[in-house]
Point group: C2
Chain length 358, copies 2
C-alpha cells in the first residue's frame, strides 16, 4: 500500500464526488522549501481528486520544479508568484510589516480573500502565528489562537489532541476554557470522537492542586454541560488514553511536547546502540527496525502530522520546519479534513453555546 492509498483510505470521503476545495501552500517555507513542498503538493493532488492547490512562491523556481515533475500545466495547480520569503529567524513584527509579498503572507491572504479555504506553511512558527492572527482575525468569543496537534497513546488506535503547544506563553482561565471548547470541536469533527473527554493538564489530579486560574477553568468547564470535562490529568496521563483532549497553556504544552520528543530521541538512540552492539541483535534489529520506528515516529507529532492554529476565522496548518515531503503532505491532508468538516464554523457555534449561561 503506498502513501496515496493510505491517505485515500483514511480520507475516503474525498473521493465521493465532493465539490472542489482549494488550499493555498507557502511553497518557500521550511528548511528545504520547494524541494519538499512541491513533491508533497503533487502527491496531495494524486490522492485527492477534488483538490485544487495554489502554490505561493518564486515563480521561476516553482515552474522549474513543476516541469521536472511534468505537472506544469495541471489544471488543479495555480502558481501565485511572490517575491519575498519569511526567513526562519525573522521576527514576527518584521514579517508582518515588511514582508507583505512573501509566500507565507500571500497564502494567508488568499484564505482571507476567500480564494482558498485553508493554507499550509512549514515556515517560521511565530511569523505564521502573527500573520494569521493579524490577517484572519479571531472567531467571535476567542481571545487567542492555539496550536493543537495529536500525540499517540498506549492504545495504538487512539491518539490525544493537545493544546496549546506554544502559541501563547500564559493563558488565563477564560482562554483555557475557550481552548477546551475548541479542542473538543476539533476532536469531534476531525477524528469523529463523540463527546470527547476533555482534561486540564495539572501537577496533580486532586481538585486542590494547581494554580488559581486552572481551578477556575475547571469550575467553568464543570458548569458547561456541552463539554465532557473529566478533570485534571498529570503529564504521564497524556499517553494513558484517559482523555481525548488535553488543555494547558502554551509554555507548559511546549515543554511537554518537546520533553516527549527529547525522551523519544534519547531512548531510540540508546536502543539503536544496544541493537548494534551484538551480532544477533544487529540481524534482529534489521527485522524489527520498521515496527520500532513506528513506535517513535508519532512522538514528534508536529514533524509528522502538522499542527493547526485554531480559533481563527480561517484554517491554518503548520508543518514542521524540517518536515519531509510525506510530513508536508500530512499537513495538507489535515487542512483538507478541517475544510471538509468546517472546523472554524463548528467552533464558532460551540463557543456561542459555551459562552451562554446554562
Amino acid at each position: 500500500m503506498n502513501i496515496c492509498d493510505n491517505i485515500i483510505e483514511n480520507n475516503s470521503t474525498h473521493m465521493n464526488g465532493k465539490k472542489s476545495l482549494t488550499i493555498a501552500l507557502d511553497i518557500m517555507g521550511g528548511d528545504k522549501g520547494p524541494l519538499i513542498t512541491i513533491p508533497a503538493a503533487i502527491m496531495a493532488l494524486k490522492c485527492t481528486p477534488n483538490l485544487h492547490l495554489i502554490l505561493c512562491g518564486d515563480e521561476k523556481i516553482i515552474t522549474t520544479q513543476l516541469i521536472e515533475y511534468q505537472y506544469l500545466d495541471n489544471k488543479r495547480l495555480t502558481i501565485y508568484p511572490t517575491t519575498e520569503v519569511v526567513a526562519m529567524d525573522d521576527k514576527p513584527a518584521v514579517a508582518i510589516r515588511f514582508k507583505k509579498n512573501s509566500s507565507m503572507r500571500k497564502a494567508v491572504d488568499l484564505v482571507k480573500e476567500d480564494k482558498a479555504q485553508a493554507c499550509v506553511s512549514a515556515g517560521n512558527t511565530g511569523a505564521l502565528f502573527s500573520i494569521s492572527h493579524f490577517v484572519l482575525k479571531m472567531l467571535p468569543g476567542v481571545e487567542r489562537p492555539a496550536l493543537i496537534s495529536s500525540l499517540p497513546t498506549n492504545d495504538e488506535k487512539k491518539h490525544v489532541f493537545m493544546l496549546d503547544l506554544g502559541a501563547n506563553v500564559f493563558c488565563d482561565s477564560n482562554i483555557l476554557y475557550q481552548f477546551a471548547i475548541m479542542g473538543s470541536v476539533l476532536a469531534e469533527q476531525v477524528d469523529g470522537i463523540k463527546n470527547p473527554k476533555v482534561a486540564l493538564l495539572n501537577m496533580g489530579e486532586e481538585e486542590i492542586k494547581g494554580s488559581d486560574h486552572i481551578k477556575l477553568t475547571a469550575s467553568q468547564l464543570t458548569a458547561n454541560d456541552d463539554i465532557n470535562y473529566i478533570g485534571f490529568v498529570e503529564g504521564n496521563d497524556i499517553f494513558s488514553n484517559k482523555a481525548d483532549v488535553i488543555v494547558c497553556d502554551g509554555f507548559v504544552g511546549n515543554v511537554a511536547l518537546k520533553t516527549c520528543e527529547g525522551v523519544a530521541h534519547m531512548v531510540y538512540n540508546k536502543l539503536l546502540t544496544i541493537l548494534s552492539q551484538h551480532f544477533f541483535a544487529r540481524i534482529l534489529g534489521r527485522i524489527f527496525a520498521a515496527p520500532i520506528k513506528k513506535i517513535f515516529k508519532p512522538l514528534n507529532p508536529d514533524q509528522y502530522n502538522g499542527a493547526s492554529l485554531i480559533g481563527l476565522q480561517g484554517i491554518v496548518v503548520k508543518s514542521h520546519g524540517n518536515a519531509n515531503s510525506k510530513a508536508f503532505l500530512a499537513a495538507i491532508m489535515e487542512a483538507v479534513k478541517e475544510v471538509e468538516r468546517q472546523v472554524p464554523e463548528k467552533i464558532k457555534k460551540k463557543l456561542i453555546q459555551g459562552l451562554m449561561p446554562n
Copy 2:
C-alpha cells in the same frame, strides 16, 4: 557485584574512617512502609560503616521486623517510637496540625533538634514539604524549598539535575534565581561537577522567548559571575547533555517529569509487545531485557533515586511512594552524600555571594 558493592564503590569516601553520621528514617511512610524501609535501612548499614539510623515508627512493627532480620540489638540502629502515620491522602495542614507524633514529623523534628543530620521519607509529598518547611525553616535568602532530582542524558555517564519538580506551583524571577544557585551547588557538591552549566527551561532558545519573569531571571543569572549560566533550553534539551542543571517552576517541572515517565512507560510497553509477538524477537527480548530495562529505569527518577527538598535548614530526601527497598536505599545514600558534602551550608554560602551586588 551486589548492591552494596555498587554503593561502596560510588561512595568510597564513607569507608575512610569518617566520623559517624546519623539519619532519621520515616519507617511508616510510602505505600509499603516498614516492609521496604526496614530492609533498605539494613542494607544502608551494611554499605556504610559510619552510618547510624534512627527508625521512626510503630515500635512493635519495627521490633518484629528487626527480629526477623536479626538486627534488633544492632548498636547503629535506634528505634524512635511514634503513634501516628501521615496517610498518603492527608492534607498538608492536617499533617502539620494533628499528626505531631507521626513517624514523618518525628524524622523531621530530629533534624531540627540536631539529633539527626538528615531525614528520609517515602510518605505523602505535600505533607513532607509542608512539615519540613514549617519545622526546619528556610535558609537565609531562600524564599521557597525546591524539589530536585536527576534525569538521564544521551551520555550514559552523565545526568542532569532538574528543579523545581513540583514543590511550588508558580515561581517568580527571584525564586527561580535562588533555585539556579541551589541547583548549581547541589550538582557541584553531590556530583563533583566543576562550574556546572545552568540553564532555564523555556519554550524556545531565543532571548525574546518566554514570560517576563523568566527573562528577568535570565538577566539576573547573566549578571552573576559565580554561576555558569548558559541560557534557555527547550524540553528536548533536558536529555541532550547541554546543561548540568535545569531550572523551572514546579508546575512546568512536574509536567516535564511526568511526561518523561509517561513516554518511557508507553514506549517500553509497546517495545515489549513487539518483542513478544515474534519468535526471534522473544529471544532478542530475553538477551537484551537487562540493557533495555537500564534505559528506561532512570526515566522515573523520583522512583529510583529519591528527590531532595533543598533550600531548608536541614537535609530532607523524598523517596517515591511506591519505591522498593533498593529505591529507598538509594534515597538514604543520597541523604548520606548531602550530609557528607554539607549541602545546606554550601548553598547558604553561595546564596550570600549571589545576593551581593557584583
